[in-house]
Symmetry: C2
Subunit: 303 residues, 2 copies
């Protein structure tokens, strides 16, 4: 099948991948939790809810684990296969934004069925911003849908394929932070091998481990996954505003504005307005904002 | 079935567990490799052979991964079930010594079949030293044996069940290090969460994650797995003496003489004599020897 020369929005929007079933084993959730920095201190026993299967029925799946419920490589293949998409250089693809909506606490050893659809594409002149929406339901072994569990929007920016004129229709939640002092600031150091641990949760892009690939992307060394510091931001919000109760997080969305090198310290500034939170995550070492986001909590935080 | 009041050696020696099949997925070997400290520095690209599935056919399984080829809980259950064994307190069981013999490089996604047998028990007065020998072969999906891959002897000391008089017959390889200066000394820092990562390779004893269980064992905080610093010692031998070529390691055996707290720095002193190596691993922070061992290499190291 020949590829179009440029994006054909009406052939992109609505393109679907076959439904995919998934289930997290303990190790998947444990590696995800370690990957976003839980249990860096082994004496912080409350972190064991996310990292130790010995907690059995009290084991918790951190909400942003939802970002791994669909296979990233299947989403990537869907983009490649879409008849409305032109050829493009895979190294020109960057994760631009992520939205996660939680409807029900996530569970280990639970079958899920996910439907992924390309729901929007926007001409950004230098490239295209493409939205894949992944909706997941609990299901039984046969795949029969139960309760809706979560929804994620993966927005990727692909350089070099702009100019098709369609402005896009999904404006996103809107980002930006107040000029006032933040309500709360939390920090977390990442480990020099944070990306090597995080990737085992399911994001195997060589950019995050292979120095040669990182160099091709213009980086001195492999960079941390956007979804890793997205998860770290969510963790700091839950720790800073919800006393560690991750079920308080209803949604979290962020735009990635720069990269993080593993080993850097991340600082998350939070501005609370009722149940809404605006946040900005920066690297302390380079004083650079790497993500701006918004989150919604179940209840107004007691501060 | 009623338990004997004390160990009946002739009912212990020769007691076998049913053969068990196993296969390492990439994540199992990657987590093991991270657990013994590979890829702490993401720019040490030679470590990616053990931690990145992107190496495909060049992916390597570190030889001491053999210590996870049999399920530790199945070995433990075999000891409990053995009709020659009295009741004992599981918290009175300590890993005393470990021997590993490699016959063929280990492989990811390869089926193995393992036979575990209690091959010796020795009265140590204050307790019993019990040897479980696990021999593993490559096999096909049906379990049909191919080449012998490795053999491990797990020696556990169980306090409180000595006094049965049998001296044991397996004297082990003999430990002890020369008083001369070591041929080579290598060090490696462990991470504060080293045990929390290492345990995901398959050793889920709560002593290594739960501060309450550690306190019951008399420790201020959870301790590192003996098999973790055994693996780290093997890693330092391979890096220090074999230029990182793990296939040079024919066997490695060690006696655990003390415990390690995650976060401590381990120093391994090595004395080379032809293809034989005696070694001693200590914690730098407490100046305490934690393991003494011997190893055999395929060829005399070029130093």
């Amino acid at each position: 099948m020949s590829k179009p020369k440029q994006i054909i929005p009406e052939k992109v929007i609505g393109f679907k991948a076959p439904p995919q079933k998934s289930k997290w084993a303990y190790i998947d959730c444990q590696v995800y939790a370690l990957g976003i920095g839980f249990s860096r201190d082994q004496m912080k026993v409350e972190d064991h809810y996310y990292t130790s299967e010995l907690k059995d029925d009290d084991f918790r799946v951190f909400p942003t684990n939802a970002t791994t419920i669909c296979s990233g490589s299947e989403v990537f293949n869907m983009i490649i296969d879409c008849p409305g998409m032109p050829e493009f250089n895979p190294m020109a693809l960057l994760h631009g934004e992520q939205e996660t909506y939680l409807y029900k606490p996530l569970k280990v050893n639970q079958d899920y069925i996910s439907e992924v659809e390309l729901t929007d594409v926007a001409d950004k002149k230098k490239g295209a911003l493409l939205t894949s929406t992944c909706t997941s339901w609990e299901c039984d072994e046969s795949g029969k849908k139960g309760d809706k569990a979560c929804m994620g929007k993966f927005k990727v920016f692909i350089r070099g394929i702009g100019g098709f004129g369609f402005p896009g229709k999904d404006k996103g939640p809107g980002y930006g932070v107040p000029k006032t002092a933040p309500t709360k600031t939390m920090t977390q150091k990442t480990d020099p091998n944070q990306a090597i641990v995080y990737r085992l949760a399911g994001d195997f892009n060589p950019l995050h481990i292979d120095p040669d690939m990182a160099a091709m992307g213009g980086f001195d060394k492999p960079i941390l996954h956007g979804l890793c510091f997205y998860g770290i931001s969510a963790k700091l919000l839950v720790e800073g505003l919800c006393a560690g109760d991750e079920t308080q997080l209803k949604s979290i969305s962020a735009r990635f504005t720069s990269h993080v090198f593993p080993g850097e310290t991340l600082q998350c500034k939070m501005w609370v307005n009722g149940t809404k939170v605006a946040f900005e995550t920066s690297t302390v070492e380079r004083g650079l904002a790497v993500a701006q986001g918004v989150a919604e909590l179940q209840a107004q935080p007691k501060l």
